[in-house]
């Protein structure tokens, strides 16, 4: 099958294209214009914007905690719309089927679930398998697990740590490693109620900093493309910018991905003891080329916070709206599910909203800042189109800012910022850079040989509409969305890495599981044949 996209505005930063031109697709790949051949299908896309499919690096779309949130809040996702025959379950709100369908309709073709503990990996992959159209992947969460903390306490050295990390990633079929409030969930089990970078985890005599450093090093030693993905300490607390700055410093110039930075950009100034420190933090990010961040933008509406930072979630459960929450002390990391309503007229929520936008605007390099709401923690991913409008239009920001409590606005630098993202920067931030960050060479660009994951948008005054309803979307060369609506399902892969390691650690782990847990480690290994479709996975090479 040969497809010709004719005369679109091609925005492909990797190949330096920002021009009117053509694009050719043969089967699942982008190809050079084949001389003398006629296309089987021609799409006139003149006046449209053509980009690679977007990639979301951090969105909680699967796993035990997310599913618990679904079950906790049935009253918040009542259905009313029958689904199109071709798309079963696609109108079932918050279902995996709806997730894939909506992402695709916005031009997203790859989405990464960032927080799966090894013992929940099978469920997570079962859920990912039921997310249609897009490719998926998940990050394996380590950093509160007894085996790792014991290795570190006993001074076993980087090789043993790397072997263990590799084995855990391989068994769970992860694409990388995430660490969530390193040591914090464990400290909470020993009744700690606050936990910072240099606090010591009881029983292990280790600081959070030491755990992060060890995991950072293991990821580098294993040549896993994605750097350690860190959810730092003290999320959401006034004055926590100090922790964020110290954490950037603690990376010591080594690669680090700092997740949902907005939630760490708070000062403690002013009458409410709560202010934006985003400008200062953005400056620190600009000065640290080893650090990448994603924003975790807040938008005003009902949502639910879903996080393995169980200590933070327990503390936050006082603020639950509606008033109910689930706190789970899991094996290693756990989780907390706390519904929350961000209100436009709430001082703190308004500051949070502004903080996210300040980070978007003040971090200079679109290769190092990633577009997220930490779905659903800052807002559901369905708000992305509105956020594109806010960062691409100073007027849209001014209009939205005018609705906020002005005493909150005064605690931020937002009104002074004139920057507007252009399409090229959007394509870097949501396509090229995520592919680079995750080591996905086959996507994020429109060059020859690349996967034909392509989003075609209809530009217009209404930027949100442009990004909500893609004109056309191709996944692996298959036209899956027309005029913002899914046409049919196809089933993508879960992307994973398979780092090499000394298998002696597996024997040691088998003994550890038998002795400690009294059950087999093999129970938790994600076996492909237990998933609903063959070829569930696609491997991403470990090499940098």
């Amino acid at each position: 099958m040969l497809i010709h996209l004719k005369g679109g505005h091609i925005v492909d930063p990797v190949n330096g294209r920002d021009e009117t031109g053509d694009l050719w697709i043969e089967n699942d790949r982008i190809v050079a214009a084949p001389p003398g051949k006629l296309a089987d299908e021609v799409h006139d896309v003149s006046g449209k914007t053509v980009m690679a499919g977007a990639i979301d690096i951090h969105s909680h779309i699967a796993g035990g905690n997310v599913n618990c949130a679904r079950l906790l809040l049935p009253e918040k996702h009542q259905n009313w719309l029958p689904n199109p025959v071709a798309l079963p379950f696609s109108t079932a709100k918050w279902s995996t089927f709806e997730t894939g369908t909506i992402y695709a309709s916005m031009g997203f073709t790859t989405v990464i679930e960032p927080a799966i503990v090894p013992h929940q990996a099978l469920q997570a992959h079962l859920e990912l398998s039921d997310i249609p159209i897009i490719d998926k992947g998940m990050l394996t969460v380590l950093g509160n697990d007894d085996f790792l903390l014991s290795l570190l306490r006993d001074g076993e050295g980087p090789a043993a740590v790397a072997d263990y990390v590799a084995s855990a990633v391989a068994a769970s079929n992860g694409l990388g490693v995430k660490c969530i409030n390193a040591g914090g969930a464990t400290a909470f089990k020993y009744n700690a109620r606050t936990f910072s970078l240099d606090d010591v985890v009881p029983f292990y005599d280790l600081t959070s900093r030491q755990i992060v450093e060890a995991l950072q090093r293991a990821v580098e030693d294993l040549k896993i493309p994605h750097p350690l993905h860190l959810h730092a300490n003290n999320l959401g607390i006034p004055g926590n910018v100090a922790t964020a700055l110290a954490t950037i410093e603690a990376a010591r110039g080594e690669r680090l991905h700092f997740a949902h930075l907005q939630f760490y950009s708070y000062g403690a100034e002013g009458g409410h003891g709560f202010s934006s420190a985003a400008a200062e933090l953005a400056a620190a990010v600009n000065a640290a080329p080893n650090v990448t961040i994603d924003v975790g933008q807040v938008m005003f509406r009902q949502t639910v916070t879903v996080s393995a930072d169980v200590l933070r979630q327990f503390n936050g459960s006082e603020m639950a709206s509606p008033k109910k929450s689930v706190i789970h002390d899991g094996d290693g990391d756990g989780g907390g599910i706390v519904p929350y309503f961000y209100r436009e007229n709430d001082f703190a929520n308004a500051v949070q909203w502004a903080c996210g936008l300040e980070l978007f605007m003040l971090i200079d390099d679109p290769w190092r800042i990633f577009f997220t709401t930490d779905h659903p923690n800052g807002a559901p991913f369905t708000t992305y189109p509105e956020i594109f409008a806010l960062i691409m239009s100073r007027d849209a920001r001014a209009e939205a800012t005018a609705r906020l409590p002005q005493e909150a606005v005064a605690m931020t630098t937002l009104p002074s910022i004139a920057r507007e993202y252009n399409l090229n920067e959007i394509a870097i931030m949501t396509r090229a850079a995520p592919a680079k960050l995750l080591g996905l060479k086959d996507r994020g660009h429109l060059g020859e040989g690349g996967l034909a994951d392509i989003a075609v948008y209809s530009p217009g005054k209404d930027l949100a509409k442009m990004f909500r309803f893609a004109h056309l979307v191709f996944k692996d060369g298959d036209l899956v969305v027309r005029d913002g609506r899914g046409t049919h399902y196809r089933w993508g892969n879960a992307l994973k890495v398979n780092p090499g390691y000394d298998k002696a650690i597996d024997r040691r782990l088998a003994g550890y599981y038998d002795h400690h847990f009294g059950n087999s480690r093999d129970l938790f290994t994600v076996k492909e044949h237990l998933l609903p479709r063959a070829d569930a996975f696609r491997e991403v090479a470990c090499a940098r």
């Binding site: 007894d146 029983f203 327990f314 689930v326 847990f517 237990l530 609903p532």
Partner: protein, 364 residues
């Protein structure tokens, strides 16, 4: 192994699947009940329910919603069997059916052993409310508190733990205070509950007690849940539709209602006119008392009140075939590999075969 019957007469699996599809497609409102199956079986069944515009329920819904209704009303604090085993310095067992429900519970939680993750190296304190006969025997030193009304007992215990007055006999008060003292001094206590004796009101009271205790110390819960992969089916239903079982596709999208889509109620009231009964973990028979057209995917030796129109004998996940299922041992969905691999078909196999006769549908 893996016999199939139509009206009691042996037939091929293919013939049974075809006839089952015919019966189900003629229904005005079919309901899929029992649902004792692994994740793949649940998934196939929910896809089928959508195709049929029917409803689905699980045989253990009463127990499922005893816990789930509390979660949806007030929330929960829970932990895993691993954490309980390795960390709990206090166990608070509640109910008389715990070891009947989960015979391996004591071995798994090993309450008589010193918890290796505790900072203090000393034996655990073991409390048991309403142990019934035999429940608390032979596992270290267990303090017991009898109760004829669990809700009232848990309310009194919660009140005493919070330092509030309660009106009861002196002896009972002393016992309550002793229990409250142990709970408040726990470093990481775990309340273990389950069985039919605990209703939502009692569980909600217990949740209140756990929340209160967490103001000063750490305490969590370990609900034992129900059998026949109830939790695994609820999880699968959760990601596929957003809702647990007792969900219907009658209007073309999932709607959830614990009363309206109770399979037995639907059948006995006449709202549902055809049933697909699924029980892969044991020879459970449908509980309703009304003879309606029935397709059964059942364990061998199931004794039915009425012979089903179509019956297919199916294998058990983890015995006859591999499957993903929720394991009480770990508190998560794990891979269960066949211990005695056989030719008996899985629920997912049979349901998919039935589904194929119901017309082309999008590949899910």
């Amino acid at each position: 192994m893996g016999e199939a019957r139509i009206n009691g007469k042996p037939v091929s699996l293919a013939a049974a699947a075809e006839r089952a599809a015919e019966i189900l497609s003629q229904a005005r409102m079919p309901v899929i009940a029992g649902l004792g199956t692994d994740a793949a079986g649940a998934r196939a069944s929910i896809l089928l329910a959508e195709k049929l515009r029917g409803a689905y329920d699980h045989m253990h819904s009463t127990r499922i919603f005893a816990d789930l209704d509390v979660m949806r009303q007030a929330g929960l604090m829970v932990t895993t069997p691993n954490e309980a085993r390795l960390r709990a310095d206090v166990f608070l067992f509640i109910g008389k059916d715990l070891t009947k429900d989960w015979p391996a519970m004591m071995e798994r939680l090993s309450p008589a052993k010193i918890p290796p993750f505790d900072l203090v190296h000393e034996p655990r304190k073991l409390l048991w409310i309403a142990p019934g006969r035999g429940g608390a025997k032979g596992e270290g030193l267990v303090e017991t508190l009898d109760s004829s009304d669990l809700h009232a007992t848990l309310a009194s215990l919660r009140a005493r733990a919070a330092g509030r007055a309660v009106n009861c006999a002196k002896g009972t008060l002393r016992k309550l205070d002793e229990f409250a003292g142990v709970l408040k001094n726990a470093r990481f206590g775990v309340a273990v509950w389950g069985g039919d004796g605990l209703d939502s009101l009692s569980i909600e009271m217990l949740h209140g007690l756990i929340r209160d205790l967490n103001k000063t110390t750490r305490f969590s819960g370990l609900p034992l849940g129900a059998g026949a992969n109830a939790s695994g089916v609820v999880q699968t239903s959760g990601w596929m539709t957003g809702f647990p079982v007792r969900t219907s596709f009658g209007r073309g999208f999932p709607e959830h209602d614990t009363w309206r889509f109770d399979a037995t109620r639907m059948i006995e009231s006449g709202e549902a006119d055809t049933a697909l009964w699924i029980s892969a973990y044991g020879p459970e028979a449908p509980p309703w008392r009304k003879n309606i057209p029935l397709v059964a995917l059942a364990s061998p030796q199931t004794v039915f009140a009425w012979e089903p129109q179509v019956c297919v004998e199916i294998g058990c996940p983890g015995i006859d075939h591999d499957g993903a299922e929720f394991a009480r041992e770990t508190g998560s969905i794990v891979g269960s590999l066949a211990s005695h691999r056989s030719q008996a078909p899985s629920v997912a196999d049979v349901v998919s075969q039935i589904s194929k006769h119901l017309g082309e549908t999008p590949k899910c």
